[in-house]
Symmetry: D2
Amino acid sequence: MAVVVVDVMLKPEILDPQGQAIVRALPTLGFEEVTAVRQGKHFELEVGGDDPEGVARQVAETLLANPVIEDFTVTVSK
Amino acid sequence: MAVVVVDVMLKPEILDPQGQAIVRALPTLGFEEVTAVRQGKHFELEVGGDDPEGVARQVAETLLANPVIEDFTVTVSK
Amino acid sequence: MAVVVVDVMLKPEILDPQGQAIVRALPTLGFEEVTAVRQGKHFELEVGGDDPEGVARQVAETLLANPVIEDFTVTVSK
Amino acid sequence: MAVVVVDVMLKPEILDPQGQAIVRALPTLGFEEVTAVRQGKHFELEVGGDDPEGVARQVAETLLANPVIEDFTVTVSK
């Protein structure tokens, strides 16, 4: 059994309003050092079988991300 | 300038309906190997200054997570 | 066939960091008139059968909301 | 002071993986009557001034939705 992390982000060329809200709010809270923020989705999957990374990648393509507007990364964490 | 990743997840004892929906949908798509899914939020911050990790941790506590119901991790990625 | 809308919000006593980010960002964009923002999830369901509202309510309780931390409303829209 | 609701949905032609996960999970829970689900974001704004609906519409365009991939509706609720 492996724990596989899938992170899904809007493609860089697509505006991310939620990240924009955060980056604009931060100076009002005194956090001047943060110059950019993007927000995405983070999934933690428990996967069995012989190829947990491959399965997670297929799952990401099928049900976690929309490949037209989003990119994703797959990381076997343990 | 550092890129710092903040991942925010519901605390383990709090039910995550979105992860539940995914784990229940997967067998109908042939992904029998996935036994658990939890969904959270993933943030990528560009942070300057002397202590990007510390700043990101304060930002997470203040504006990215609700510490009553969520846990977060902070990772300096480069 | 009915279209049923389910809106899911964090309970009022639970801090909503995403709404907080937006409300803090708005004055920096010139929107001084907005005094509070809360963010939730919005679902549109197409439901058949004799009791679409009742079905949507059960779906909301089971898979769209976590009743410990969230409230929801169900509205038959057409 | 008015409460204005902004609902943001992916445009109909853009695949919504989260809605897909829910619609696929529902039959496994006995909810055969639900034939489609789409998930979006729901915002509740408290807005002052003379034109709360107009302000909320500008806020939605600027910070709540990405007009390239999302549609939104604005409703003055009280």
